[in-house]
Symmetry: C2
Subunit: 428 residues, 2 copies
């Protein structure tokens, strides 16, 4: 019954791709890269399938035929936010789950599997690859990185990060112009951005500063990697407000004190008696309002907008996300498995990258924090090396299609693939 | 000592322009329109001055020479957010203030004054016009409308509204794609937008729906003009979540219950014992979480971003804002005073507008609420007439200049005008 093929370059069969975790502005560009590359390997790859809602779609045998989608739809995918195939946050744990995935793979002759996702998703990729190998079923598993948090190890940066930072920096620059219009040395604008463990996005806001204009916002940047000191923060706000009409603070949601406590956790109670999750914005607002008389604070929590603002995506990021998807397919066809595509930056004067592969083992359980050497001695600023690293990632704007005044985004037709397996019972 | 000229079309002198109130994405386009038009009247208009921070700049004789700004800067103004001259929220009240304004007008031979602002600012315009007339000093005062809230009477719509709605609708569409990626009939995304008294912006979010796609977000729209009913709201959320994987709610910050109480006022207490301003998002989140088990809610409060997102501005709005500024200058030169520019929509098949004038009296103290006839019978939706009204306002995208991956925005050099008056003491 078991397949016992040995690994060879001439493996043929069908391809399955899925998306997982929080969407990014370019997670669909990677999907488009997978589809486009797969179409080029007609000798090796038969059908190009997508699983709806990540591994949940595999378990439920909820597959769609991506080759049947129109070319127009696939072209639009690269600038479409959200996960066009649907996403999930499911981690695979039980032997029944892995057996089910193998059952579906076998039923549909899936020989190439690409999971577009972050740490947890690549952990699933790894386990699927290992399980199939242990059962003698050959499938090539190559992950495609994705996360706005930029916290995956090994890869120079992650698809999704550049677009999020472009949006955040644009927004901070715009907010600072609004704030400067009304400030009289008495206005503090606090912008809370994503980043529970790593401060990459908060640091990215510093790209809002123009070269040679040190008074540009943001004036204070607070990362989870630097323990927050309320007194030092208040003193810095005071300094900024003596020099400038207003002060812009960018804070990561995962800001912690020296004891490691999250400052955004909140201790208040809402109208229903439930504890409030105040958020870092509200916490910092309290610090300021309890320190200064007559200083106004504004809170701006960007929330999920920052991971979905495709209208402000980076063309560099879109291109790299597409290429990462395409590279995964090429590597799988070439015989690779159990790896993830990583972006390697060339050591050249002008920015350029190439796609390479790394073992899934090293990716799945690591977290790349913001480098301590790039954090200013005051713990509230970011050094120039960061700008050199991050600036190329936000270059370029896609040409968006507009319809009725709004960006036109792709919607997959999701042509269903006929089911061949019995239903999967979660509690079997 | 007093000037006693009679009003005639051949008045000559200098022009002063100022900005007031909350900035919009296009308040500087109106400034560019004023400057550009003023340059065309070299027989009538000598210097083109700006007051820094609205009437505060007049009181403080803090004037800048706008004709000295580079053409490049003035061109960039049309796509630059914030108030390039600085803004203020000051209302004029005392006889000393009006006397001071006249003193500064006389010292700089200001014969044309344009205040770009909303209700309060046009109230100031009116009072300045009346005071100068009462003192026999001829100055032509023509206001330029501005407010993202779209709540000024008489004008068909307000410059600033179209761009804010384009940004809000774009964001709602993008958030809904993210939300749809993860929803399993259990995810509610709440987007809180500006609008204390009027629901124009919340209603504008409905432009995110594509024609003929009734399942598109937003699924529920809550305006201040329709009294909120928690039970009916919860029932509607339930209905949406039975049909769809997720539910997107857009709520105006000024949402009220049947007794007229603001629901976003909050009754909680923060870590410092201060009452929290929970916001409408948090209130609605509580309603949902207290009604449904297993439903997740996300809050997204767009805050000040929505009035400053020039990277997502409407070209129609930019053009009209520019034309409104230019029309104010032309009207003043032609002998008009004590009026504000209003936008009149032509009754044609294709959208077109013309700039007309209206008495400042009628503008200053009115508030145009969202029409009751356009609110659905359920109080949680908006009828098709609104889309017909609002859709043309969000058409078109400006070609932005980018520098280092971000939009390039104008910064006035602010060449100071020599002071001629003694300092003004606020407490004189």
């Amino acid at each position: 019954m078991e397949n016992t093929e040995s690994s060879d370059k001439n493996l043929t069969g069908n391809l399955l791709v899925a998306q997982s975790g929080g969407p990014t502005p370019v997670i669909n560009a990677s999907l488009a890269g997978v589809i486009s590359a797969a179409l080029q390997f007609e000798d090796e790859i038969g059908e190009i399938y997508g699983a709806v809602n990540g591994v949940e779609g595999i378990l439920g045998e909820n597959l769609v035929d991506l080759a049947a989608e129109s070319q127009q739809t696939v072209r639009l995918l690269s600038t479409t936010p959200g996960a066009a195939l649907g996403s999930c946050r499911r981690k695979l744990n039980t032997p029944e789950e892995f057996a089910r995935i193998l059952e579906v793979f076998k039923a549909h002759d899936i020989r190439f599997f690409h999971y577009i996702g972050g740490n947890d998703s690549q952990d699933s990729s790894k386990k699927i690859a290992d399980y199939c190998a242990s059962q003698g079923y050959e499938v090539r598993v190559i992950g495609v990185p994705k996360t706005i948090d930029n916290d995956l190890p090994i890869t120079d940066h992650c698809p999704g990060y550049g677009s999020t930072v472009k949006y955040v920096a644009t927004t901070v620059r715009e907010l600072s112009l609004d704030s400067a219009s009304l400030g009289r040395n008495n206005l503090v604008t606090i912008v809370e951005v994503m980043g529970r463990g790593a401060g990459w996005i908060a640091a990215g806001a510093t790209l809002a500063r123009r070269k040679g204009v040190p008074e540009d916002a943001p004036h204070i940047v607070l990362l989870p990697e630097a323990a927050f000191d309320a007194a030092a923060f208040a003193e810095r706000v005071r300094e900024v407000l003596t020099r400038q009409t207003h002060c812009v603070v960018v804070a990561a949601e995962g800001l912690k004190d020296a004891a490691g406590n999250f400052l955004g956790a909140g201790t208040g109670v809402d109208a229903f008696g439930h504890p409030t999750l105040g958020g870092v914005c509200e916490y910092l607002k309290s610090v300021i309002e309890n320190t200064f008389a007559g200083v106004k604070t504004r809170c701006c929590r960007l929330g999920h907008v920052q991971r979905t603002a495709s209208h402000c995506a980076s063309m560099t990021d879109i291109t790299e996300a597409f290429e990462a998807g395409a590279a995964a397919v090429k590597a799988a066809v070439a015989g690779e498995t159990g790896k993830m595509v990583v972006i390697v930056r060339d050591e050249r004067e002008h920015y350029s990258v190439r796609m390479e592969l790394s073992e899934l083992d090293g990716i799945a359980n690591g977290e790349k924090l913001f480098p301590a050497a790039w954090i200013g001695g005051d713990g509230m600023s970011v050094g120039g090396q960061f700008a050199k690293y991050a600036l190329p990632l936000i270059y370029g704007e896609p040409k968006l299609s507009y319809e009725n005044g709004l960006p036109k985004y792709a919607e997959l037709a999701r042509y269903g693939v006929e089911k061949k397996c019995p239903p999967f019972s979660e509690n079997a």
